[in-house]
């Protein structure tokens, strides 16, 4: 968190390690595509060779039965016909049934594969991240966070209470704790040295937006003035983590970049 302190105007603070989010995102998106192609080779090969060709025949078992082969039906009555069918079924019926089962298995496996592929695609990190894909939500979170940062990090020597009151509604979690600690430390100096600070978000980019959680990169300009002295403007880069609580974006963490 960067606040202009009484003595020094925002020297670049050391930061933690970089997280190469973007490359991860890309990798995560790539996998579903290859994943989706997987059902093809996964076709159950458990059946004996040529299950595909027998499959064509087995597709219409009922038809085959009524025609009952090339032999002309003997006019000996039902009894003979039924007996003939029974005896003929044993050599041809088993592979047919196996083939039918194979087809069903193939269809089921294919369906499962497609379902899994669709699920992978939908839950891929790239798709879940709605930054820019949902323009309205993206603009909203960016606007609210810009506004929050400006309110929380702008004050006059007499008016830190406004900033602190804003902080109570706009900050949460770690960000709120840090802010309170910082203000407790510098509160007296601020008034003593008559410091005025105004903060403005110059550029804001939404890195990640997933439902009620967002991460943003914000470029800030912070203009400060001591007493009647000259105003100096310092640049600050922050990554802000925000959470949507009661339909309002609240800042839960701020990291100086």
């Amino acid at each position: 968190m960067r606040l202009t302190r009484p003595r020094r105007v925002s020297a670049p603070a050391p930061t933690g390690p970089v997280t190469a989010d973007s490359t991860d995102d890309e990798a995560a998106f790539d996998t579903p595509a290859t994943e989706a192609a997987r059902p093809e080779p996964g076709i159950p090969g458990g059946e004996p060779a040529g299950s595909g060709t027998t499959g064509a025949r087995a597709g219409s078992p009922a038809e085959a039965e009524t025609r009952s082969g090339p032999e002309p039906a003997t006019p000996l009555g039902e009894e003979a016909e039924a007996g003939g069918r029974v005896s003929r079924r044993s050599p041809g019926g088993r592979p047919r049934r196996v083939a039918a089962a194979g087809i069903v298995a193939v269809l089921l496996a294919g369906g499962c594969g497609f379902s899994y592929g669709a699920h992978r695609l939908r839950s891929a990190e790239a798709t879940r991240n709605r930054a820019l894909t949902d323009t309205e939500a993206t603009a909203r979170v960016a606007g609210e966070i810009d506004n929050a940062l400006a309110r929380v990090f702008s004050y006059t020597p007499d008016g830190t209470t406004t900033a602190e009151r804003s902080a109570r509604t706009l900050l949460d979690g770690r960000a709120a704790r840090q802010y309170r600690e910082l203000f407790a430390r510098i509160h007296d100096d601020l008034a003593g040295q008559r410091i005025t600070l105004s903060t403005k978000a110059v550029r804001t980019g939404v890195i990640e937006l997933d439902g009620d959680r967002a991460r943003l990169l914000v470029f800030l300009d912070q203009t400060s003035r001591r007493g009647d002295g000259k105003a100096t403007t310092a640049a600050a880069q922050l990554t802000v983590t925000a959470r949507l609580v009661n339909d309002r974006w609240r800042i839960v963490d701020i990291k100086a970049r």
Binding site: P12, T15, V18, A20, S22, D25, E26, F29, A33, A36, P61, A62, E65, E78, E79, E81, A82, R85, V86, R89, A100, A101, I103, V104, L107, L108, G110, G111, C112, G113, F114, S115, G117, A118, L121, R122, A126, T127, N129, R130, A131, L132, T133, K200, V202, R203, T204, G205, I207, L216, L217, F219, D221, T223, T233, A234, A235, Q237, T239, R257
Partner: protein, 182 residues
């Protein structure tokens, strides 16, 4: 009914056939539905847009880092990388100023490395193949005497997609204290 057993024997395959037919139909229906579902997911515009966004960001971060990295001992490779990371006007600028710049760096004997701290895409026109990115960067310059200086900078980059690759077409520092814009 003396004939009943025979009739039953003759008809026995029927329920089995009907069952397997139903089963096959259900399986086919399921496969068709799942296939269509997968197709829809794979051809979802939003997913494609999201993928482009992530590609643009990755390419933008890498390009910004490349353009802030240069070792005086290996100038040619570094400057080749600059050119391959860029396109359009920026590339022409770099190419035309290359000789002069190389001499300067050779004389200064500096090693410049950069680390991307964070980056975000602010605009993306998927059809036109244009995007804008913000990149927070830490640049470290090592002088010949071993002294290191670190500087944080915030860059605004414009990317243009050509041959399905995103490259930087403009790059500059975000102005401090200037007029604000989105």
């Amino acid at each position: 009914m003396p004939r009943a057993p025979r009739v039953l024997a003759g008809k026995r395959p029927r329920p089995l056939t009907a069952l397997s037919l139903t089963l096959a139909l259900v399986a086919a229906g399921f496969a068709a539905w799942a296939g269509e579902d997968w197709y829809a997911a794979a051809h979802d515009d939003r997913a494609a847009y999201a993928a482009q966004r992530d590609e643009a960001l990755a390419a933008g971060e890498q390009a910004v880092q490349n353009l802030n990295t240069l070792d005086h001992r290996d100038l040619d490779r570094g400057l080749d990388l600059w050119e391959s990371s860029t396109t359009g006007e920026l590339r022409e600028q770099l190419a035309s100023g290359r000789e002069r710049f190389a001499e300067q760096v050779k004389a200064a004997k500096t090693v410049t490395t950069a680390r991307v701290l964070s980056g975000a895409v602010t605009e993306l026109d998927d059809r036109a193949g244009r995007a804008r990115v913000l990149v927070a960067l830490r640049v470290t310059v090592k002088a010949p005497d071993g002294a290191k200086t670190e500087k944080d900078s915030r860059m605004l980059g414009e990317l243009t997609r050509s041959k399905s690759r995103w490259r930087l077409s403009a790059l500059g520092q975000a102005p401090v204290g200037g007029a604000s814009a989105g």
